[in-house]
Symmetry: C2
Subunit: 214 residues, 2 copies
Amino acid sequence: MRWKKISDAVVRRLPLYLRVLDELAKHKETKLISSHDLGERAGVGPALVRKDLAWFGEFGKQGVGYEIEYLRSELRKILNLEDEMHVALIGVGSLGAALTRYNLRRYQEDESFNLNITALFDSDQERWGEEHEGLPIRPMEDLNAVVEEQHIQVGIITVPAAQAQTAANALVAAGVRGILNFAPVRISLPDHVHLASADMSLELQRLAYYLQDE
Amino acid sequence: MRWKKISDAVVRRLPLYLRVLDELAKHKETKLISSHDLGERAGVGPALVRKDLAWFGEFGKQGVGYEIEYLRSELRKILNLEDEMHVALIGVGSLGAALTRYNLRRYQEDESFNLNITALFDSDQERWGEEHEGLPIRPMEDLNAVVEEQHIQVGIITVPAAQAQTAANALVAAGVRGILNFAPVRISLPDHVHLASADMSLELQRLAYYLQDE
DNA sequence: TAGATTGTTAATCGATTAACAATC
DNA sequence: TAGATTGTTAATCGATTAACAATC
């Protein structure tokens, strides 16, 4: 599939829409949804919902709305969630271990959740061979080989801040094309590798701002 | 302090700037930084750095730049990070426990990090009384009392998706004014309570989009 | 003084919202 | 047919960038 230059603001909303549709599909109460209703549930205006979807095709019927199952399946195609995506996690401290557990559980419980952590790495020699959720903790030296073998496309970084850039470099060198960073530092990546970040301390500091006065 | 309607886009960048300044202050190699250099390290254009800061005052000197220590201390005031902020965490599963550990460590190691988890809650009776990182796990019934006693202003939600809204409601009722949500659902809050979210699955789904073709 | 860099205004760019013809 | 809702274009709104006078 190929659409030219969709803005990131649009791409960020697609998973929100998908989540609403997943929920509705599960309950099977209705077959149809309007842009108004979908927008309300996703926290987005109705015009924006229609505009976002229109970038990718015509999925609705005038006067009727969108068929939930159909739109859901189209969104899964658009987001590239049809095939399983393999993920490597670097840094099996308590946060890394928790995310692994959390992800595995979601993967097992939700048949349509295709994002799966399949390999764990840690630089601490003491941990090598240890198992978490059935996965062995491997040395960083194995990264290249495992990424190739398991067709890993994404890496999650849960190492301390000081080691995050090194971990990112190793992932990039191994051929990963997306990185989700939990470490509280900015990491630099070449243009062809995409970055997502989940930086709790930035979010908390932002909240602190809004707690002032009033 | 009171500035009228600063856009959220601006507020989100302030912690990035602060992080750069913290780092520079630690190494003590230079006393001054230009908007160009600060922007480069934070991943933001120089004009935008100056414009962002100018919302709050005049912190630089023409021809010279910004004094690192001074700007850092001003940003800490602006972001409301001077006083300690107490945080309650709801849902002490592996993720909640990991975040507690992670936060406590940061709090202990970094003298200027003032965000501190001081109370843990879980709805599972089995866990009550159990200790994590020196904090007892409490029943939700205690929330109101503890929030008041400990002057808790922010709540972190790490319960399963199905219980996230209930947890949020309880936090709001207890008087919390900011919530950081890790559960993969949208939660609704009254206008006076601010929301931050760290939703790993949304980020991974977004990455999946960018992994397509090329 | 000459060079550098701020604070700020004006210009540009991009994203959201409003409006409406098409049509189910 | 009448009512509803899409897809899309035009209008608005907001955020970023460029430019430059002020001044250290």
